[in-house]
Every structure is written in structure tokens, then in C-alpha cells.
Symmetry: C2
Subunit: 358 residues, 2 copies
Amino acid sequence: MSYLDNLRAVTPYVPGEQPKAENIIKLNTNENPYPPAPGVAKILGEIGGKEDRKYPDPTAGRLTEALAGRYGVKRSQVFVGVGSDDVLGMCFLTYFNGNKPILFPEITYSFYPVWAELFRIPYETVALREDFRIAPEDYRRENGGIVIANPNAPTGIALSLSEIEEIVAGNPDSIVIIDEAYVDFGGESSLSLLDKYPNLVVVQTFSKSRSLAGMRIGFAIASEELISALQSVKYSYNSYTMNHAAILAGTASVEDEEYFVKTCKQIVRTREWAKGEFAKLHFTCTDSRTNFLFVSHASVPAKKIFEELRARNIFVRYFPLPKIDNFLRITVGTDEEMEKLFAALKEILAACRTGGIL
Amino acid sequence: MSYLDNLRAVTPYVPGEQPKAENIIKLNTNENPYPPAPGVAKILGEIGGKEDRKYPDPTAGRLTEALAGRYGVKRSQVFVGVGSDDVLGMCFLTYFNGNKPILFPEITYSFYPVWAELFRIPYETVALREDFRIAPEDYRRENGGIVIANPNAPTGIALSLSEIEEIVAGNPDSIVIIDEAYVDFGGESSLSLLDKYPNLVVVQTFSKSRSLAGMRIGFAIASEELISALQSVKYSYNSYTMNHAAILAGTASVEDEEYFVKTCKQIVRTREWAKGEFAKLHFTCTDSRTNFLFVSHASVPAKKIFEELRARNIFVRYFPLPKIDNFLRITVGTDEEMEKLFAALKEILAACRTGGIL
């Protein structure tokens, strides 16, 4: 017997690299290249620590209210947390207490199996189709809950609203979480299904479309009953999860719809142009509806390109995992950053051609 | 079978009241009446949302480094989280996985049983002595871990370093967490025991002595081995828990030792003066080493005083719980706030005398 015997054994999740050097092009963590709404800078400059001595509002009332207004739901249908990771983690802890395995795609956000293991939730993964698409009919087996990222990561591919509905309607006895981290870049949100399906939970984040990864804000929208269960668990863990700065920054972001729409459109425009550029260089590219591209070259291995880009201070994401180890996930940056990326890719491919790899 | 069958059932914890009205004297949640260090306002004004589009440093490196420097430990011995509630919650989840009950005092921070229930950790509470003191010899029984708030809440009473050592040394096979939320106001920190006892974990917060309740910052210091286990669980839950603003604000606070010492001393001075004032009004007062006082009047019920103060816009904390339901927990405010409190108390006691209660 030792004091170490009762430690929870987990396989540590290693977060993506956050290089500290200057002059790098960082396209590896799907951050937004544009700053948050101007109101965010304004409000942070104004608070100036004055209100920090007091506890923040445990209900994050202003932010919850702004989100309820923006998405046309009741305030009691909105739950906010420290990034969608906190929100999803709380969802796993709250909703998945059964003995049947929960289901999620074999290739998807890599945190799902980590949470399942952390909270000792049984799970099974469901294979994707050959073309990386999720097959809704595969989610018709017995389960203790379902989680679908839509659009999915790192493939970028979206299910249609009717495909999502097929999964939600086909599992009336399970809670189905749709993780819409990237939905604002061209996916169809399942929020419109909420009135019809009390077993549906929609999760979104401020880290991508709202350029607020640094402030850690995510939210869930569902029936009052499911949100209330989530609140009870959250209040049993930490009453005050959203700090004062995050509540104000998030609210300022939601209040500037025009800026939000404008920057999302710009990302989509850059993404669609980049798809064409990748094709010219003989990359295949999934039909991404996100702020990243999932690409594979016809002849040069992804790992080689990853390393060569990195040597040029351009960071993208490479997953040494079965089925996707010849792909790169590349965040959509500014047009200027993408032009530098393509210049580097041309250089790398030319060198490979000379070196006999191509 | 229903989608609701797998919900985690918890008794929701209701956070303390955060009244929104102006002109109130808020002495109910042990906030610090002084603003955070001037550097905090400065840094928040400067960041102005610019860095918010990127993910924060998942290791909260600057803050961790500042804390390691301040407390004379290695960086790998420091864990930071979203308030000490997040840190303590992670500690419960990480350290208390055995089948034997964990132990904590019967009267203490009310979150301990809530976390135990949330994570299904068996627990037993240990009675206090008649005078509300913790009896170290009572922690010599078989257990799966121990948590002691020192100074304890809501009594404010501190154990000496040798009494803490008695508990830690007497339980070499258990992890012992010392929750030092209030230690900077006159308790003895157990940090000096760390070199001797690898089963010790010390938790502190920025919410009290550093006036940063609004930013949600807490930390644990322990052996590298125990901190590493905590990091693994944290990274398995949420890689980025501390937002950008919290990392910078916390660092700015740690860097201003002079301001920290000055404001802590001011709170202690006000507290000691207040003890005398309470005695004059026939209140008994525990020997509080915190930023709050735990008081009971010789003849007027605590509940009555609580309600009368509230009617005068002075918020203090009343716990309708066995053994402490005739006590009030009153945060040490500014001298001016405390003078208003005593004026109100005199008025209330005079009215009780006239009304025949006294």
C-alpha cells in the first residue's frame, strides 16, 4: 500500500504545439487569423482589473443572455464553459452514465476517447466510409449515447441537416451531442432540430469563428431539462468557471454580428481559393466546410511535407494515425499566409522532383 | 429506457449570492476589499484582445514560472487551474481513486462532500472538538486520502505547522491535501513540509489574498510525481483551462510582492480591530487567521442579525447547518465598510433590546 496506489491512471493527452518563436506561420491549431471583434479590445481595456477582486457572475448572465438572443432560445437552454472542451467534458460526465457503449466516429476529434477513458465511460468507434464520410445508418445500433462532430475533424466534411436528423431521430433513447466547433464556416447547424428532439445537445465554440481561442469560451444549447442537469454537475465541480474577462469578451463578440459574418465569409473565400491552388499542385482535398483543409499529395508523403514546411517556419498538423497518416490538416490563414504556404509547397515539391521523389 | 436514464444525479451546489444592486456592503463571499496589484489593470489594458485569437499557453508557463520563483520550488512542482475549486476538483479526481473513505472535517469547506459525490469517492467526515478546533489525532484511522482546510472555513481557526505535520506524517500511505485558501492572512503554510513528505499537496488561491476572484486562478504545489499525475488528468479534460487574461493577470500579481504584503497586512489589521469591536458588542469570535470572522452573539440569534443586516444592504453569510446555525461568517472589508457594519449591528442590537429580545 502506498499513497500512489489511488492515482487515476490516464494516457496523458498532449496538446498541439504552441511555438513561441516570432516570424512563424501558424496553421496547425485552426485558430482564426483575424482579431476578435473590436468591441472585445475595447471592453478588456476598460475593465482594467477594477472588477477582478469580486467573484464573476456564476451564471455568466450577460453572455448567456447574449447567446440566447443570438440563437433564438431561452436563457435556460444555454450552458457556457471554458472552451467547448470544458462544455463537452461536462456533457460526457453528465450524460453518459450508462453501461452501454457510447458511439463516435473512428476518425474524429481526438478528445472523445480521452474523456471516455477519464470518466470510465464504455465506448465504441464507428468506421467512416472509404471517402471519409460518416454513414448515418451505422449509428442505429444499441448505445449509451452518441457524439458527432459536424463538420467532422480533421476531415472537414459535413453531414447535411437531414443526415444529422436521421441519427438523432433514430436514437430517441440516447442523448446525441452534435459538436459544431466549425459549423459557422459553411456547415448546417442542427439548432433548428432542437424543438423536435429533446435528446439533442448542440455544442459550439468561440475559438474558431469568433477568434477568441485565447479567452476559452464554449457553449451548449439543448432542452431546459438537459441544460439543467449540466448546470447541476458544473455547480458541483466549480461554481465560477468563466472569468470576468471571458464573460465580457464573449458578450462583446456576440454583440457584433456584422464583424462575425464578415470574417467568416473571408475565411470561406480564402478556403475555396486555396482548394483550387492545392489541386493545381496535385493535392487531393476533402470538401471542407471548416477553417482548415485536409489534404494529401499524389506522390510526396505528408510527413515529408510536414517536416519541410516546419523547417521553413510554417506549422501545419500531421497525425501519425492509421488511415490518415498521409494527410495534413492545414488551418485557413490570411491570404498572405496562404500565399507563403503555397510558395513553400512549390519549392518543396520542386526539390522532391529534383531529388527523385516525384 | 429513456435518454434521461443515463444522467448523472447530483445534489446541485448553489453558489453564494452575488447581489447586483449598487450601494451594498458585500461581506458574504470573502472577497478582498482592495483592488488587485496595479500591474493587473495595466496588463489587461495592454492586451486589448490582440492575442485572444490564439490559444493560450496550455502550460500557463509565465504564471507557473512566477509561482515557482515566488515559492522556491521547481516549475514542475506547480499546477495552475481555474480557481482553487478547479485545482481541488482535479485533485479529488486524480488522487482519490481508492475504495477506502477519504476523510475531512465535519465542518469545513462545503465543496468537499460535493466533489466526493460527483466523482463517487467514498468519504467520512471527522467531528471537530467542542471549540471548533480540528483534532489531528482523529486522522489516524484507515483512509483513502485526507483534505484539511488550513485555516479552516467557516471557523477561521488554524492548525499549527506541527499539527499539520502530525497528520501528514501519520498517514504516509495517503495523499494529504492542505487547502490554504486563507493562509496568507496569518496561517502557517505547510509548503515547508514538502521536501520531507512526498504525500503532501498544498493548494492555494488568488481569490482572497491576491484580490483576483474575478479572474479564477488557483494552484497546487507538490512533488513532481504528484503534479505530473494531476497534469495528465487535466490534459485529459481540457488542455487550455487558463485563459490568456488570467495567465497575464496572475503573473502581474505575483510580480508585485510589495503590494501583496501591504494589502494582506491591512486586512489583518482591520480583522484584529474588528475582533475587539465584536467583543464590545457581546459577540464571541473565533481566533480567525483568515479574511473573515466567525461570530455568534450572546443573546440575539444569528439568523435574526443576518436578516436585519440584509435589510440594511449589508450581506454576510449565514449557514443553516447543525452546530453552526447560530454563527455568522463576515468577510473583513475596508475599515469604512466595517464601521458601517458595526453601526448597523449597534442599531440592530438596540432595537432587539427595546423589542425585548435582549
